[in-house]
């Protein structure tokens, strides 16, 4: 049984990472950049269909949002999405305050929260059943933070973020399923293709 389903505080549906990632990718019509965190968030981003504007991390747990902040500062006209797990975010929680201070309006952060280190054997995180990601984000100064109640609400929040005037954080409760695909782990190609996709480079 998923421990998350017993959390009393929120009335939010337990969803699925791949389904939500596919719903997000289907909405991207303007070459929006997407940064996938380590492990399952980038596996599901890969499985949702590779796009030239996708970046997949190999390691450096917790850096999806900082990397996305860098892209957002470099390209203020482009919308940037970042996908991060709750365990990863716990490892780099200070970045929420940094992002709130810099306040890039073109950044949407999505936290996939199952309360688990799914990829290492589904052990619970230290925050399972006690910490509230949205309350943490709001406390860090990201006032535009919300739990998605269900898939429809998630899509609504994503749409809303496309025209937001402040950084957006969307937290979703997800099940304990592993990622669907497996990213090709070729960091130089990943980086070069991402830069091509962002219009920074021309192909050799």
């Amino acid at each position: 049984m998923n421990v998350m389903t017993n959390r009393p505080a929120r009335n939010t549906k337990v969803m699925n990472r791949f389904d939500l990632t596919s719903r997000l990718v289907a909405k991207l019509k303007n070459q929006e950049a997407v940064i996938g965190g380590i492990g399952n968030t980038n596996f599901d981003l890969w499985a949702a269909g590779h796009r030239p504007q996708n970046f997949y991390m190999l390691g450096s747990m917790g850096l999806a949002f900082p990397i996305a902040l860098g892209v957002a500062l470099a390209q203020p006209e482009r919308r940037i999405f970042a996908l991060e797990g709750d365990g990863s975010l716990l490892m780099q929680m200070g970045c929420l305050a940094t992002i709130a201070t810099q306040a890039p309006k073109n950044l949407t952060m999505i936290v996939m929260d199952n309360g688990l280190y799914q990829i290492t054997g589904a052990q619970p995180t230290p925050a399972t059943a006690v910490a509230d990601i949205v309350a943490i984000a709001t406390g860090c100064g990201l006032s535009n933070s919300a739990w998605a109640a269900d898939e429809e609400d998630f899509e609504r929040l994503v749409d809303q973020s496309l025209s937001a005037t402040a950084p957006t954080l969307i937290a979703v409760r997800i099940d304990d399923k592993p990622g669907v695909g497996a990213t090709r782990r070729d960091p130089v190609q990943i980086r070069e293709r991402f830069m091509l996709g962002l219009g920074v480079r021309e192909a050799l």
Partner: protein, 190 residues
């Protein structure tokens, strides 16, 4: 120049000679010359004036981060998006970076430029700092990373300018270690 006139006292000569640029002025000007606009940092006492001057210059986007690896993530993303950056930190901050260097900067071939204010040597008063300092160069060497320890003002601009250019053209990280011999370091005060 002024001395050749033979009219002024040594003291007057000192007053009239062009003022030598300080190490932190060289850093700021060399960053600018190389179009490095984004400077996230975790502060250090030695870096105080540099950080203040970078904040005061509208050319730069500069801000503190909660951790050094966060700053590395930010400049990595920015570089992929077409904006150049550099990270400022002290020795103990560098000691937190082995994972991000080995899993992001090096394998993705990102020209990560780091300025590390060196604590832990040449008059260190904190035993913890002196121990953590000893991990820095072995980590850099174990990853075969380019690094230089700047000790002299007359070489400093050459080292900084060339190292930045090399990092960018070879897409490889570089650590520029600012020795107390260059900066004066931080000394024990009662």
């Amino acid at each position: 120049m002024a001395a050749a006139e033979g009219q002024i006292s040594p003291q007057a000569f000192q007053d009239q000679a062009p003022r030598e640029r300080s190490w932190h002025e060289i850093v700021l000007q060399t960053l600018k010359r190389n179009e490095i606009r984004l400077v996230p940092y975790v502060p250090d006492r030695v870096l105080t004036t540099l950080i203040k001057n970078i904040h005061a210059d509208p050319f730069f986007t500069t801000f503190p981060t909660a951790r050094e690896e966060e700053a590395v993530g930010i400049v990595s993303g920015a570089w992929m998006g077409g904006l150049r950056g550099a990270v400022l930190m002290q020795t103990s901050g560098f000691a937190t970076l082995a994972n991000v260097l080995a899993s992001l900067a090096i394998p993705y071939q990102i020209p990560l430029i780091m300025f590390v204010s060196e604590r832990g040597t040449l008059g260190e008063f904190n035993y913890g700092q002196s121990l953590v300092c000893r991990t820095m160069r072995p980590v850099l060497d174990s990853l075969a990373m380019e690094h230089h320890t700047a000790t002299r003002l007359d070489e400093f601009e050459f080292i900084v300018d060339r190292s930045i250019k090399q990092a960018i053209t070879t897409q490889a990280p570089v650590a520029l270690i600012l020795s107390p011999l260059l900066t004066g370091g931080k000394v024990f005060e009662k």
